[in-house]
């Protein structure tokens, strides 16, 4: 079955005064229809860039330098602007981090909804308004008729993000790219919004790429998860496997650093060192300076993603015996 979205060997670079910086280095993953993929990593690992590259909104001077992005088997990374524009919103929706700044303060919520609907679906004004109402209801906004004619500043943070979700779903896309949709919200609201997102995706049959640095969100929501480090995928696999039996030392470090409610621990585990800057990525495996189990091979040869139990990890520690032919 063709994957809904397939990213193959994606490379994104930023030409700069001091040379070209490679921000995404050979990223590959795929998302099936209706599936939710979590993309997790530290700040600067390249999560948001991946999302931006997929919807074709990389900010210049950033540009795709290699690889392919395929939507239902069709390449979309090299499309002319107009064709890509037709895909945005209609087949791929996007949600950004800050609901406060994502909505135009000068237009009513209704107008922004109707505008999006009418851009992609050939419907009249009245039907567009009805659809907008339905969307507001679906996203859990009370008294939607009144809300349609209100301005963004009249909504609270959580409500605004619901409007943003409604806007992203307006043209019924098959894939949603959600970039840290709950980071800017109160903790008490985060759970509600995540549950809403997951529910809506299942209801509409949409797949989702959920970018976040919060493993708790990943655990609750996603089917698969990809762990990013320094612009590379270090581990990818089903959520429960990655969380409970990670193969890559970085992933293990990540999981180990999350305090558990049911454990009595004296120290917070942390990984020594910091993620390297883009202009100082070590040779071989990018994680090798911080890795507690580093081998000489790690400083010389960069590992590819290899099967490791139920997941795939880019690590030379993966025993040959555990690798099963793909």
């Amino acid at each position: 079955m063709t994957a809904l979205l397939e990213v193959r060997n994606l490379r994104v670079e930023f030409p700069s005064r001091r040379g070209t910086l490679l921000a995404l280095d050979d990223i590959s993953f795929s998302i099936q229809a209706g599936e939710i993929l979590g993309v997790v990593g530290e700040s600067g690992a390249g999560k948001s860039l991946t999302g931006a590259a997929i919807i074709g909104l990389l900010e210049p001077p950033g540009r795709i330098a290699g690889g392919q992005i395929l939507l239902q088997g069709q390449r979309i990374d090299n499309l002319p602007y107009e064709q890509m524009r037709a895909i945005r919103g209609r087949r791929i929706g996007a949600i950004f981090q800050d609901p406060l700044t994502s909505l135009n303060p000068l237009y009513t919520v209704g107008r922004q909804l109707v505008e999006t609907i009418q851009t992609h679906l050939k419907v009249g004004a009245e039907e567009a308004r009805q659809r907008a109402l339905k969307l507001l209801q679906e996203t859990g906004i009370p008294a939607p008729e009144a809300r349609l004619d209100q301005y963004p500043h009249q909504f609270s943070g959580g409500m605004r993000q619901r409007v943003v979700i409604a806007l992203a779903l307006a043209a019924e896309p098959q894939l949603i790219v959600a970039d840290e949709p709950t980071t800017a919200l109160d903790v008490s609201i985060q759970a509600q919004i995540i549950r809403l997102l997951r529910g809506l995706c299942k209801d509409h049959g949409a797949a989702m790429m959920l970018v976040t640095h919060d493993m708790g969100v990943i655990a609750e929501t996603c089917d698969q998860v990809a762990v990013l480090y320094a612009g590379r995928v270090v581990e990818i696999g089903p959520v429960s496997d990655v969380i409970h039996s990670p193969s890559h030392p970085y992933t293990r470090g990540l999981m180990g650093s999350i305090p558990a409610m049911d454990e009595d621990r004296e120290e917070l585990l942390q990984i020594d060192g910091a993620m390297p800057r883009l202009n100082a990525i070590p040779a071989g495996c990018a994680f090798n300076p911080r890795c507690p189990q580093v081998l000489p091979r790690c400083t010389q040869q960069r590992p590819e993603l290899m099967p490791a139990g139920a997941t795939r990890a880019a690590c030379w520690l993966v025993p040959q015996s555990a690798q099963t032919p793909v």
């Binding site: 909104l57 800050d98 994502s102 135009n104 609270s156």
Partner: protein, 327 residues
């Protein structure tokens, strides 16, 4: 909103009073009105009696109150230079200045805003850089020099347009207008263009800067991510948000246009208030200076108030006092 209007009116009153105060101080302490009216050879008696007539022997607050009272009615006494009533002089010249300023304002807006938008949207391309360089030239050229160069080109060399005065004017009630005759229009072109250049360059650069800022916001990014066509993104979303702060600045600029008209009127010998003011400064004709000052302050205050009201009309965030809650 009502409270807001009250507050602004109170501020306006304070500004007017401070200006009136300055104008009053001019009257009192700058030069001796008695000497300038009577000349050097007047006797002590004559001075005393004139002093009494002018009310100069009253205590300070009384004089100030009287001054304000008079000022509100537009009564500023006689011009030291021409001997005629200041209010008449100003009333005669006001239409000329107003027409000139309005014409310049229209030119500055109609040309400046679209060019600014263009320069923002086509950033980095040759046309946009050319426009920006020209705008830089516009703020580096002093107004009087622009006027002189235009005269040199269009009046002296090409002999297409006249270089001084207003041409044929038509009197309608208390107003004289040059807009109803072809000759009047011909005389208006060069001065209006001269006056508009600085404002045009400023508006252009402002619109471009604002637009570039707006184009980087999240809501524009989100609009693009929703697949809205460029036209809707640029002119529906970006432009509207750009124009909101531009309104304030433009409003203030329009107020200063009337003051800048001083220079243009001098270069083109346009019979407006500005020309009158310059002659007053050169001659130390205090009543005219004071009256001009108060009138300009009044115009500014009114323009500021109108701009604030416009802001209310355009930006919904200011209108509604209580943001709703709920999750």
């Amino acid at each position: 909103m009502f409270a807001f209007i009250l507050r602004r009116l109170a501020q306006a009153a304070i500004v007017m009073l401070s200006v009136a105060f300055i104008a009053f101080m001019l009257f009192q302490y700058v030069g001796d009105p008695v000497s300038s009216l009577l000349g050097q050879d007047a006797t002590q008696e004559q001075r005393e009696s004139l002093r009494q007539d002018l009310g100069l022997d009253q205590p300070f607050p009384v004089q100030f109150a009287k001054f304000v009272g008079n000022a509100v009615q537009g009564e500023f006494g006689l011009s030291l230079r021409q001997g005629r009533k200041v209010s008449t002089l100003i009333a005669e010249r006001f239409p000329a200045t107003l027409e000139l300023s309005l014409a310049a304002a229209v030119i500055a807006l109609v040309v400046g805003v679209p060019l600014g938008v263009y320069a923002a949207l086509r950033r980095g391309r040759f046309g946009s850089q050319l426009v920006m360089t020209l705008s830089l030239l516009g703020v580096s050229l002093p107004t009087f020099l622009i006027g002189i160069l235009l005269i040199l080109l269009f009046s002296v060399t090409l002999k297409w347009l006249p270089s001084f005065g207003r041409g044929d004017v038509v009197t309608l009630g208390g107003w004289t207008t040059g807009l109803l005759t072809v000759d009047g229009w011909k005389h208006l072109v060069l001065p209006a263009v001269t006056l508009s250049v600085f404002q045009l360059a400023l508006i252009l650069r402002l619109v471009r800067a604002e637009m570039l800022e707006v184009l980087r916001t999240d809501y524009v990014k989100f609009a693009r991510a929703r697949g809205l066509p460029d036209r809707a993104v640029y002119f529906g979303h970006a432009l509207k948000n750009t124009l909101v702060p531009v309104i304030t600045i433009t409003g203030l600029q329009l107020g200063s246009l009337i003051a800048f008209a001083i220079i243009t009127e001098t270069v083109f010998q346009w019979p407006g208030m500005g020309f009158l003011f310059i002659q007053a400064v050169q001659f130390a004709d205090v009543p005219v200076m004071a009256a001009y000052l108060c009138l300009i302050a009044l115009i500014f205050v009114i323009v500021n108030l109108v701009v604030d009201l416009l802001y209310f009309a355009v930006d919904p965030r200011l209108r509604i006092e209580n943001p709703a809650g709920g999750h």
